[in-house]
Each structure stands twice: as C-alpha cells, then as structure tokens.
C-alpha cells in the first residue's frame, strides 16, 4: 500500500496517471465484464453518461440492458435495485447529486440496510449506491451537501469515501463484490483530480485506513477531498517545521479505529477534517473514537473542522467560507501545536 500511496496522488511521470472519473469508470467496466449480474441504473446514465460524464462509453460496451436510464424516481429505482439485489443481481445505483438521497431514505435505511438482519440472515442485498458529495462548485444548497454521516449512523450499511483515483478504483471494485448495501460517495469537485492508478487489477479492502503522509508532530485525519486539502496544508506546515501525518480512513463503516488511534498516540495532537456539516457529523465520531483510544496520549483535545453549520450558499465569496481549506487547516494546526 505505502509505495502506491507515496506515488499518490501525483504519480511519478513513468506511472499511469488518470482522473478520478476514469478510475471509477474503469472499476465499473472491469466488474461488469467480470460479473454479468452487475448493472447500472440511474438518471441519464446511458448515452449521456451522467452530467459528470463519469459513465461515458459504458452503454456502448454493455448495452442499454445493463446501463439503464431510469425516470426521475430516486425512491422507485433504488427500491427496484434492492429487489433485484435480493434476487441475484448486483445493482449499482447512480444518485446524481447526493442531495437526492433524501428521496430514497426509506429504500436505503428501512429496506436495504435491514433486510439481512430482519430476515435472520436469509436475504441479502448486495447493492452499491454511488452518490456525489461536496461543495465549492456554485451549485447552491440543494446540490452541494455531503450527507454521508447519516448513512454511517445506520447499521447494515457500509460507507466509503475515496480521496484519490487509486483508492476510488480499488474501493469501488470491493464495494461491488461486497454482499451488503454500500454507499459510495464521490466528491464532484474531484472528478478531474489526477493520480496514479496501476494498469494491473487490484482491490482495496474495507476498514483499512491509509496513511497518505507520515509525520511526527500532529495527525490530520481527513476524508474525501479534505485529504487533498490536508496534504496541501501539510506541505505548508512542513515549511514551518511542523510535520503532519495525514490519515485517510477511506471507509467510515467499517472504521479502522486502530490506525487512527496509533497515529494519535504517536503525535499527541489530532485535527479531524470532513466536508459534512461539523455538528453531529463525522468529525464528532472520529474525534470521540480517537479520544477514547488515545486520551492519555493527547496533549490537547482533538480539533474538528467540518463544513460550517449553514446551508451551502450560492454566492462564491460566501460558499468559499463554508468548507475547510488549506489556510484554515494550517491555522488550526499551528494553534494546536502552540505556534499560533
């Protein structure tokens, strides 16, 4: 892992460097070739390849029977995917904007997440729900939310947040092969992010955090695009002589508490970053879990940086205030290290 990680996200020129969108498309294509039960359903997924063009070319290879344009019925086609998953298929549901997950919550939370447990293990729902997340694209309050915390709170669901093309491809392949409902959150501000992705096939196991950068002075735990923000901040902190370790849990459920806690014990100072709203969000669980495991090693309380507790505004100068950026992270890290 670590070598691959090192070359990540800026792959050595010799390596194969592709975008996040391409990595996701490759994962889908490879799994659809590998398993005829895998199919894609969502809005404008076929010819259009989604508004983000992530699925471009898939309908040409796999046909409209396996890349299915659905009506604007998030609850309906998610429910259909649950039934298909229970009866032998492996649906990959495309939710164009994560904000629309609000329309399919019953299907995801009351049906997919619980059917294995409620049936005493007799039915299972191997379904992957791909949804976008993330702000800063001037899409305003109903197209910019990062709602992954909701799903991490529901037993029966697994939750994945890739931060690099390499992770996105390996984790998506694992998600499609998993026998449980998996929420796979893609940051729409990262689709064109480039990174090293080997030509050879690989998968990445769930529940294994990845140390994106090693450091001794403080630990920055970050998810999705916030990992890139953390890495940028880490470079600037290095110039100030502060060596930050950047840890990416990669999957919120299952969560690799061990790796997070070990890093916290090593550095004694922890900053947690996530693009969801800060209150009652992912940063709270990560901070609590780390504090539980490393309390006696911490020099200071874990510092949390999530999105502001405000709906995402459209106005660019306001929107840019709402999510953590390298400046904010550097400032918080300096304060945490008594260098404010």
């Amino acid at each position: 892992m670590s070598t691959l990680t090192k070359r990540n996200p800026e792959g050595a020129s010799a390596d194969r460097v592709i975008t996040m969108a391409e990595a996701i498309r490759e994962a889908l294509a490879e799994e659809m070739r590998r398993d005829p039960q895998v199919f894609i359903i969502g809005e404008d997924v076929a010819e259009a390849g989604t508004p983000f063009k992530v699925l471009k070319g898939l309908v040409e290879e796999f046909g409209p029977q396996r890349v299915i344009d659905a009506p604007i019925s998030e609850a309906g086609f998610t429910g259909i995917a649950v039934g298909a998953a229970m009866t032998g298929m492996r649906p990959v549901v495309d939710i164009m904007f994560g904000d629309f997950l609000t329309l399919a919550m019953d299907q995801i939370v009351n049906q997919a997440a619980k059917v294995h447990y409620m049936s005493g293990g007799r039915w299972r729902a191997p379904i992957v729900i791909r949804a976008t997340m993330g702000a800063t694209l001037r899409k305003a309050a109903q197209h910019s939310q990062s709602l992954h915390a909701w799903f991490a709170h529901i037993p029966g669901l697994k939750v994945v947040l890739p931060s690099t093309p390499y992770d996105a491809k390996g984790l998506l392949k694992t998600a499609i092969r998993d026998d449980n409902p998996v929420l796979f959150f893609e940051n729409k501000a990262m689709y064109s992010t480039r990174g090293y992705v080997p030509a050879e096939e690989y998968t990445i196991p769930f529940g294994v955090a990845d140390i994106k950068r090693e450091g001794r002075d403080l630990t920055i735990v970050a998810t999705s695009r916030m990992v890139q923000v953390a890495l940028e901040a880490a470079e600037r902190l290095a110039e100030l002589g502060i060596e930050a370790e950047v840890v990416d849990p990669r999957t919120l459920v299952p969560l690799d508490r061990k790796t997070l806690i070990e890093s916290a014990k090593k550095t004694g100072r922890v900053l947690v970053l996530d693009e969801g709203h800060q209150s009652y969000g992912v940063t709270a669980e990560l901070a609590a879990a780390i504090t539980e495991g490393a309390f006696y090693y911490l020099d200071a309380p874990v510092v949390r940086l999530g999105a502001m507790d405000v709906p995402i505004p459209f106005s660019p100068p306001l929107e840019d205030l709402t999510v953590p950026d390298p400046e904010k992270v550097v400032a918080a890290a300096k304060a945490l290290c008594g260098r404010a």
Partner: protein, 342 residues
C-alpha cells in the same frame, strides 16, 4: 374498464375446466389454515403470551390463497404488516411462523423479524414489510431481476388500499409498465386504512391509477376464492408470457381490528357492517357451500379438514411455545452478510 360479471363468467368458464376438485379442496384447507392460525394468534395476544402486536388477516383469506394458488413455488411475493395469510398461502409452515411471532430461535427469521417481517427464500417470500408500500420497489425489482436473468418467474406485490397514498407505488408502476416487468400488484381494499374509511383519504377511482400508467387493471370479488384464483391465473400467465404487469383490485374486509389491540371499533365502523361481512361474505363458508353444491365434497370431508387443521395448529403452537429464544450473541449477528453465510 372492469368487465361486467356476465363477461367475467364467460371468460372464466373454460379455465374452470382445468381445475379439479382436489385443488378447490386444497384452497379450502389453505383458507382454513390461515383462519385458525390467526385465531390462535389472537388468543396468544389476549392471554399476553405474545410480545408486541399482530395485524390479523382474517376475512381476507380468499385473496392470499386465490393469488398464491396461481403461483409457482419459485415465484416471488412481497407482503405487508398484515402478512400471515400471504406467508402461509405461499407455503410457510405454521410451526416456524408461530416461533417467529414469539421471537423464538427456530422462527423463520430467528425471531428477529416477528409478525411484520416474516421472510422465507424457500417459498419465494421476499418478506412482509412494516412500511406501508415499503415492498413495492422490492417486488418490482424482483420482477426486473427475473426478466434480466431470463427466468420466467413472476412477482406478486400484495398491499392494502392505504398503500395507494405512497408515491413510490406510482414511481415503480411507471417503470414496470415501461419495461414490461412480470409483476402483479394485488391491492386488497378492505375499506379501512387503519381507523379511517378509505374514501376519506383516496380521490378518484382506484383502477384509474394503474391504468394511467398503462398497466392492465381489473377488479374482483375478494371473498370469492375461485374468482380471485381465475383472475390471478390469467394475469400470472400473461406476465409469464412477457405481456407485462397487471393490477388486481380485490374487494375484501378484515373481521378483526386493525391490530389485535383494536377492540372498540364502533367509532370508525358500524357493528352491523362487520356482521354483514362475516355472515354473508365469508370466503371460507362461500367456498364450502359451493363445494357441497357441486358435490366436490361432503360434510364429512370438510369436517376432516377442519380436524386436521386444528391438529396442525395445536402441534405448531406447542412447537413454538417450547422452542428456545435465540442466544444473546445472535443480537450482533446478521447485521452484515459475509460471503461465508448462509
């Protein structure tokens, strides 16, 4: 539109040929099994032997039995909060049903589901559901999958008329129609959604709704198991032949309360109404009378069936009462499926 009774008759006649007395007797037995099973469930509640509540299906037996008799074991059904009848009609056994209702380990679902969540892959039962219309997506998805996998399985989606209030039903009917899925939506109109007469919460004509989505729809007398069976058989054959989805509206009535605890019902429906349905429209008595008239059975045979069913109920109940609860460790099992199990 709904065919006039006359037409209905003619349409069915040649079908009738294909049904022998044994099969009618089997349906009689099935309805009686549901009736006696649930009378026992009510007793368990009244004697505080059953945890939680249960929604009794008594009075509606002809719908579950008539429809499920038209299905193969490998066809799918989804059920509702009022699901015991559907589960039994699709082939569930009483002992594991009782065990599930009591939260016991040998229950169909290790006692984890209970009355509102009985599911059984062996009989194609995708599960009862405690969310009104919560299974319409699952049933439509099972039909979608059958079509994709190239099997000729059919999926039946049972729901009460109250489910017509849930938007997701229209979302999936639209897709079932677009993609010609082998799914049959069986709407059991028992006149009440909980404690509210259905007309107070439903505008327009029920059959116009599926038709607006291009889905073939018909109504049938839900107390007449033969009518339900013939209609279901036609629609199932149609779906199996790739001719697409259908909607079957069954006019029926529940004898007991919305759930076993709903004793005083006078504020939402008149006693006389209940009496009328029990006396004049009972599905079991209607079939029994017909069997005698047609000389397909005599009193002796029907009494024998009654005795056998009673014995089955008693044995099943004893099994469940003596069964163990799941061990504490099971609470954390089955949250996630791993490739290993089951």
């Amino acid at each position: 539109m709904m065919p006039s009774p006359g037409l209905e008759m003619r349409a069915e006649r040649h079908h009738a040929m294909a049904v022998d007395g044994e099969q009618w007797l089997h349906m009689y037995r099935q309805m009686l099994r549901i009736r006696r099973f649930e009378e026992q469930v009510n007793e368990l509640y009244m004697s505080a032997k059953m945890p939680g509540l249960a929604h009794l299906y008594i009075g509606q037996e002809a719908v579950a039995v008539g429809v499920c008799e038209a299905l193969r074991r490998d066809d799918y059904i989804t059920s509702t909060h009022r699901g015991h009848g559907h589960c039994l009609a699709k082939g569930a056994s009483m002992d594991r049903m009782f065990a599930e209702l009591l939260g016991k380990a040998p229950g169909y679902n290790r006692g984890k589901g209970g009355s509102m969540h009985i599911a059984d892959p062996d009989t194609g039962n995708l599960g009862a559901n405690a969310i009104v219309a919560g299974a319409v997506g699952i049933a439509t998805g099972a039909a979608f999958s059958a079509k994709m996998r190239g099997t000729d399985q059919v999926a039946v989606c049972f729901f009460g008329e109250g489910a017509l209030g849930q938007g997701v039903l229209y979302e999936v009917m639209n897709m079932a129609s677009l993609w010609k899925l082998p799914v049959i939506y069986v709407c059991e109109n028992n006149l009440y959604t909980e404690y509210t007469p259905y007309q107070e919460v439903l505008a327009g004509e029920i059959l116009d709704r599926p038709r607006a989505f291009g889905i073939h729809a018909e109504a049938v007398d839900g107390q007449d198991v033969r009518a339900v069976y013939f209609a279901a058989r036609r629609l199932v054959e149609r779906a199996r032949a790739g001719e697409g989805p259908a909607f079957l509206l069954c006019q029926t009535y529940r004898y007991y309360g919305h759930h076993v605890g709903d004793i005083d019902r006078s504020y939402y429906r008149p006693r006389e109404e209940e009496e009328f349905w029990k006396k004049e429209r009972d599905p079991i008595r209607l079939l029994g009378t017909w069997l005698l008239q047609e000389r397909l059975a005599d009193e002796r045979i029907l009494e024998a069936i009654a005795r056998e069913v009673q014995a089955e109920v008693e044995a099943a109940l004893a099994f469940a009462l003596n069964a163990p609860y799941p061990i504490p460790d099971e609470v954390a099992q089955h949250v996630y499926a791993d490739k290993a199990e089951p």
